[in-house]
């Protein structure tokens, strides 16, 4: 008993001092430090509607990575060059609480990069047509603030945050609103309607270790050791919405990841992750 404890401690010290060699030894045995195989994913759970102060919310757990997302609807004037479009404003916060990697204060570089990628995934692929957020053209539109907060950071925050954001949007309802021409104000009634989402995308990320091994759903320990990261975004039918690769990889790496992402999508029951 005492011996296994000291062995554990030794392994922990080794992991901190020589992270790369530590991971290499596991990879050589065809297994990862958390006992997963290379293309194994961590368990995913999605709980929606748990935050009553938000207009829509979701709590996503991907292994130990935990992200809460809340949607808040507010009213604003549209931009002059887009009078019939509302706003969708996604942001991911990585507070100091979720990992020793992050310090308190303004958003870290990692948070900014992730927020921008999430914005890209939600806006550019037209998840929610912005025209559906129009109350009165040129006068009044909805602004949906989609704020995600990471509670526990254990890698692959992009996948977890995108699922949390889409699930929160799907869970969200907004009041029926009318613009009063005479007073210039927008009034809402207590009846609420759900948003009309055009697509329900989900993300699947991979990393390449030592130029050869493709690891699915990397943890926060694996992430900094990866040479290349790949992300595949699929819609609810498992069709490709976007595919990205950052870093050197052979020609077959991206197609392999696409195939594995589709397989995972099917295992999760297609678009059913959003049906809870």
């Amino acid at each position: 008993m005492a011996e296994t404890k000291t062995d554990n401690l030794k392994a922990q010290i080794f992991q901190r001092l020589h992270p790369r060699i530590y991971l290499e030894r596991f990879i050589a045995e065809n297994v990862r430090p958390d006992e997963r195989e290379f293309d194994d994913w961590r368990d995913l759970s999605v709980i929606v509607g748990s935050v009553s102060t938000a207009d829509g919310s979701a709590l996503v757990r991907l292994g130990k990575t935990t992200i809460v997302c809340g949607v808040k609807a507010e009213i604003a004037e549209p931009e002059l060059d887009r009078p019939e479009e509302g706003f969708l404003v996604p942001n991911l916060d990585l507070p100091a609480l979720c990992s020793p990697k992050f310090k308190p204060g303004p958003p870290s570089e990692e948070a900014q990069v992730l927020s921008d990628r999430l914005n890209d995934a939600l806006i550019a692929s037209d998840v929610l047509p912005l025209s559906s957020l129009c109350i009165q053209p040129g006068k009044s539109v909805w602004v949906l603030y989609v704020d995600a907060t990471c509670i526990n950071y254990d890698g692959n925050a992009f996948d977890a945050a995108l699922i949390a954001m889409v699930a929160a949007l799907k869970n969200a309802t907004i009041p029926k609103a009318t613009f009063k021409e005479d007073t210039g104000r927008t009034l809402c009634s207590r009846t609420r309607t759900p948003l009309s989402l055009a697509r329900l995308p989900s993300a699947y990320s991979f990393g390449i270790f030592n130029s050869t091994h493709i690891l699915a759903d990397p943890t926060s320990f694996e992430e900094p050791l990866l040479d290349t990261t790949l992300s595949v975004v699929l819609d609810e039918d498992g069709e490709l919405v976007s595919a990205s690769q950052v870093g050197v990889a052979g020609e077959d790496a991206l197609p392999t990841c696409i195939a594995r992402a589709k397989q995972r999508h099917q295992t999760l029951g297609g678009g059913k992750i959003y049906l809870s």
Partner: protein, 282 residues
């Protein structure tokens, strides 16, 4: 082939420009352009590093991106993080530990859209400009060169054709207007390097970056692989252009490239050595 708004065929690129800018306060600089889409890159390094970002085993590589107007926002941050990962594989940073290599981008082309200032062709010119700038510095050892080009998905009906059913076409090197009208697309970057494992094969191109996406509908693996192939051809041409530019730096005349410091004989002599190194790696 369906002609595009500017009369190009789908796989035709705009005229390429590669100019060594010779900015005074940096170690190396260059601009690269696809037609009107131009970007400037400057490199300083190895220079002194701030204690907070010093790395004991390799040089720190920093990338900063500046749009033509306005302050840099999250999209600048995100793009510079991507470009950092794209260019890092071409540098041998372990040679100069505890130093800093600084790369600064400046867009030279105004963007029509305030919502997405960095359209794919501009991003591609950022990458190409930085490769040229790194080559001109010579003080940062490189293991390969990174060349990039953009591809867009365009419905044929957008291309003034008489075809009744609009089909999706992939076009190389889209202009900003083409990108705005497109149904997605992306930028592709390849690293040209000799494979250390197999010296006999010569220089091979490996994909180092893509951000392919469909703004409307979906795409399949076939489309992605066609886009990759199209981009690879384009990247080869970019590489040829870079070779020309480097040759012109060397003094051998090439009228298609401008070399601002050509008349400055002394300075040209100074860089000659560096360029020789660079050429071996290209």
């Amino acid at each position: 082939m369906a002609p595009r708004a500017d009369g190009r065929s789908v796989s035709e690129m705009r005229s390429l420009t590669g100019i060594f800018e010779r900015l005074d306060r940096v170690d190396g600089s260059a601009s690269f352009g696809f037609g009107e889409t131009k970007a400037l890159a400057s490199v300083s390094g190895p220079i002194e590093v701030r204690l907070a970002v010093e790395q004991p085993s390799k040089a720190t590589f920093e990338v900063t991106l500046r749009p033509l107007s306005g302050i840099p926002g999250t999209e600048s941050k995100s793009l510079s993080a991507s470009l950092r990962s794209v260019l890092a594989p071409s540098l041998i940073l372990t040679r100069n530990p505890r130093t800093l290599v600084q790369l600064v981008f400046q867009s030279l082309t105004p963007s029509h859209s305030t919502h997405s200032p960095f359209y794919p062709s501009l991003v591609a010119s950022f990458i190409n400009a930085s490769t040229l700038a790194l080559l001109s510095v010579g003080s940062v050892p490189m293991s390969g060169v990174v060349c990039a080009v953009a591809v867009a998905r365009i419905r044929s009906s957008d291309l003034n054709t008489s075809q009744p059913a609009p089909t999706l076409t992939l076009v190389l090197d889209p202009t900003e207007d083409e990108s705005l009208a497109s149904e997605g697309g992306g930028c592709f970057a390849f690293i040209f390097a000799s494979d250390p494992a197999d010296a006999g094969t010569g220089v091979v191109a490996k994909l180092v970056w893509t951000d392919w996406k469909a703004a409307k509908g979906t795409f399949d693996e076939g489309e992605l692989s066609r886009a990759t192939q199209l981009a690879k051809v384009g990247a080869e041409r970019v590489r040829e252009k870079m070779k020309d530019s480097v040759r012109s730096l060397d003094g051998s005349s090439d009228t298609s490239t401008t070399l601002k410091a050509e008349d400055n004989q002394k300075e040209a002599m100074e860089v000659e050595e560096d360029v020789d190194d660079a050429k071996m790696e290209i």
